[in-house]
């Protein structure tokens, strides 16, 4: 990091927070990664659902940013996996989508936040803070 963050926030507190970004569009993945790193997150990025599931099996991420439309294994499959294995962890998931009209209302109850593309990065930062600081720690109650 060679520049000041877009929003000067006390990033120190989240220095140990880990985030996983699942996004098949390289430019967006890179953008989200940089924004979250400036917020103090340690960020890993993958481009499809299969890679995400295998990481989620081993790492307790503080935040998951999940695109719904992914090649091969879609975001829905990742959510299904979490619902079965760590339902409380869904409170730390931000779902991104470029087709918000396809998302039913009830979907909002399943996850922490829904972010429609194109999203504002301030909104992304706000949601990232909110969802990562939930009381439900990864692994709790699962």
């Amino acid at each position: 990091m060679t520049s000041e963050p877009a929003n000067a926030q006390p990033a120190e507190r989240r220095r140990s927070y880990r985030a996983l970004v699942v996004e098949d569009d390289g430019a967006i993945l890179r953008l989200v990664k940089i924004v979250l790193e400036r917020e103090g997150f340690t960020v890993e990025g993958v481009s499809h659902g299969g890679a995400a599931i295998s990481l989620l099996q081993n790492v307790a991420y503080d935040l998951l940013i999940l695109d719904l439309m992914l090649p091969h294994v879609g975001g829905e499959v990742v959510l299904g996996y979490l619902e079965e294995t760590q339902p409380k962890y869904l409170r730390r998931v931000i779902v991104t989508t470029a087709s918000p009209r396809k998302i039913p209302c009830e979907f909002l109850d399943r996850v922490c936040r829904l972010l429609a593309k194109p999203f504002d990065i301030d909104q992304l930062i706000l949601f990232a803070r909110e969802c990562s600081e939930t009381d439900e720690r990864p692994g709790d109650g699962s």
Binding site: A6, L31, V35, F119, D120
Partner: protein
């Protein structure tokens, strides 16, 4: 007669009388004794001359006449008046009675005293029988007419007064004969018809034309109306004089009612069927509309998705950009990401606009003479970067005679670019894409093949349909709007060409081939030079159409002259016309082997001319080569069958080859 007889002597007169067969002629003495008996008398009465000579003529009269002294009286009258004529019964030798006409003439001495009588008798039996037969037949006919109850049959005199009345008339109209005989037949017509002069008009027409038939209302005795079918026939005497009219009339009220009921039922049935058909059609079109709506919604959703993704990168990176220093590595990455996103969006928008132009028929081509190889190279160059990024090699192989083409270079480059971009998109890292361009006698073919994913056989027929994508929309790997190939097909077809696809199936690559018709292609100068250098070529061309009869139709004088010269140089016998009508007239005179026709002409254009020609059975199989400038009306082209289509400007070589190909001649 007497004078003429006077020229004959007595013996000759005796012979003449004797020989008459149809009349009995004999002489009687003053008291009735028979003195002569000719052949006719012998035949009619059945007595020989020996049996009657000297006997009294009473022997041929019936008993009752003799008792009434009729023979004696007849002789007395003849004596007194000189002559008596009578009809009556006679008796033959065999006792048979028969009816005769007889004339007895008194013969006198010079002093006036009666010397005897000449009697001439004619057998009337046959005539009488005929009269009897006629009388009986008339009686029978009268009885027949009288007994007919279904038809009113009655006679009118020339003025329309009723003279006869059968039982049918009585039944149908309700009048007794005594109530109508002598009255005018107008009494059966409704008042308004009588006022309008209808009955008299009917008589008039029957008088002039012999007959009048009519269906209309009539009135019964009780005042009720009925619908009648009536035929009025003029009846003429032996000498053509009008004797009156025969009227035959039928009550068709019931029949009419039944017909109307039937018609109403049929109409109801028809209306029901029509309503059902309309309902079916409405349902079908509603299904089509729903399907179209669904496809449109799906498309809008995809479009929205495809636009939002690059927009996310553009907005995000541009928000980040002000926080970065120029010398920060991220700065260039941000600018590049923004540019890529904007380009992607621009392409999507271009595709959508192209499809919108296609749908509204506003996609206009701007053709010009361009080198095909450089058009293809331009497309390859613009995808080179993305191919390199995936380590995909692009191999090209162009035929040396590829030449130039009269095409819209931007659009043809767009076609090749689309095929290449697809090939790269669906080919795994390290794969290969091949571009091959060749020219044959009728087309230039550009083939783009890859070693990529291939196409599912089930999806193959749909690849060129707009909004169709083989991918599951929930887990799309490649994205895109699914418009590219539909645009490719439209552009190629607008150039008069075709595009086809082959794939052995999933994982086995695919191959797209664009074929542009030869006339859109003019060989490069180099190829032209080569052609000139070959000594065999001109002589080959000079005989290729040797003896082939060609009819040329072009309204443009220069164009016609060029086509004519090119074909004649190849040995063809050419007849040229400047209008469709003249060409059709010429075709009636002589059937050529091939017709070459321009498309755009005032009045009857090439399509109309070809349709007219195909409608004539003896010309339906004629080979037709069409010449056309851009753009080809694919709608009309579908309904008209051409054997070849050449695009203007016309290359003489291509024209000769196309004409030869149309009649199955190959340049060797």
């Amino acid at each position: 007669m007497a004078n003429q007889l006077a020229l004959l002597d007595a013996e000759e007169i005796a012979l003449l009388v004797d020989s008459v067969q149809d009349y009995a002629i004999f002489l009687l003495g003053p008291n009735g004794e028979i003195r002569s008996w000719n052949a006719g008398a012998a035949r009619i009465f059945g007595y020989s001359i020996d049996q009657v000579l000297g006997r009294n003529f009473l022997i041929v009269y019936p008993e009752e006449d003799i008792k009434a002294e009729k023979p004696k009286n007849e002789l007395a009258v003849a004596s007194a008046t000189g002559r008596i004529e009578d009809e009556g019964w006679r008796i033959r030798a065999n006792g048979e009675r028969f009816w005769v006409n007889t004339v007895i003439t008194a013969l006198r001495n010079k002093d006036g005293s009666v010397r005897g009588f000449a009697k001439v008798t004619r057998d009337l039996t046959e005539r009488r029988e005929q009269e009897e037969r006629l009388r009986q037949s008339e009686e029978l006919f009268r009885l027949l007419v009288d007994s007919v109850r279904e038809y009113a049959i009655f006679m009118l005199d020339p003025e329309g007064r009723i003279t006869t009345w059968n039982s049918g008339a009585q039944r149908i109209k309700g009048y007794e004969p005594s109530e109508v005989i002598g009255r005018s037949f107008e009494m059966f017509f409704p008042e308004e018809d009588v006022k309008a002069g209808k009955p008299q008009r009917e008589l008039q027409i029957a008088r002039e034309r012999g007959m009048f038939e009519d269906e209309g209302w009539r009135v019964r005795k009780d005042g009720t109306r009925f619908l009648a079918n009536a035929v009025l026939t003029a009846v003429h005497g032996k000498h053509g004089e009008l004797r009156g009219f025969a009227k035959v009339l039928r009550d068709v009220t019931e029949r009419k009612r039944a017909e109307e009921t039937q018609r109403a039922l049929l109409e109801q049935r028809e209306a029901r069927l029509q309503a059902e058909e309309e309902k079916r059609r409405a349902e079908a079109s509603s299904r089509v509309a729903q399907e179209a709506n669904r496809a449109k919604d799906e498309f809008l959703m995809t479009l929205s998705h495809e636009l939002r993704t690059p927009m996310t990168a553009i907005l995000g990176w541009s928000r980040l950009l002000p926080t970065l220093r120029r010398d920060d590595d991220l700065f260039d990455d941000a600018v590049a990401a923004i540019a890529r996103g904007a380009e992607m969006q621009a392409r999507l928008i271009d595709d959508v606009l192209d499809v919108s132009r296609v749908v509204s028929g506003k996609l206009r081509l701007k053709p010009e003479q361009v080198d095909l190889a450089s058009v293809i190279h331009g497309a390859i160059d613009s995808v080179r970067q993305s191919a390199d990024a995936r380590s995909i090699s692009i191999n090209e192989a162009f035929a040396s005679n590829l030449g130039s083409a009269y095409v819209d270079p931007t659009r043809i480059q767009q076609v090749i670019w689309n095929l290449l971009a697809n090939a790269i998109k669906f080919t795994p890292l390290g794969g290969a894409v091949h571009v091959v361009a060749v020219r044959n006698s009728t087309h230039v073919q550009i083939t783009v093949s890859d070693t990529g994913e291939g196409i599912d056989p089930g999806f193959l027929p749909h690849v060129f349909e707009p909004f169709r994508q083989a991918e599951n929309p929930r887990t799309r790997v490649h994205g895109g709007l699914g418009l590219g190939l539909s645009i490719v097909r439209y552009i190629v077809e607008a150039h008069g060409g075709s595009v086809s696809v082959k794939s052995e199936g999933r994982g086995r690559g695919s191959q797209f081939t664009v074929a542009l018709p030869i006339a859109a292609v003019i060989p490069s100068e180099e190829a032209r030079e080569q052609r000139k250098e070959q000594p065999a070529a001109p002589s080959l061309n000079a005989t290729l159409l040797s003896g082939v009869r060609v009819l040329v139709l072009d309204d443009d004088n220069d164009g016609r002259a060029l086509i004519r010269a090119a074909l004649m140089r190849a040995g063809a016998i050419v007849e040229a016309c400047d209008t469709g009508a003249r060409a059709l007239a010429q075709l009636e005179k002589e059937k050529p082997d091939v017709v070459v026709t321009d498309i755009a002409m005032p009045g009857m254009d090439g399509y109309a001319f070809t349709r007219a020609l195909r409608e004539r059975p003896h010309l339906a199989d004629l080979k037709i080569v069409a010449l056309s400038a851009f753009p080809i009306d694919s709608q009309s082209a579908e309904t008209v069958r051409f054997d070849a289509r050449l695009l203007k400007p016309i290359d003489p070589f291509a024209l000769v080859e196309a004409v030869a190909a149309a009649i199955g001649k190959q340049p060797s």
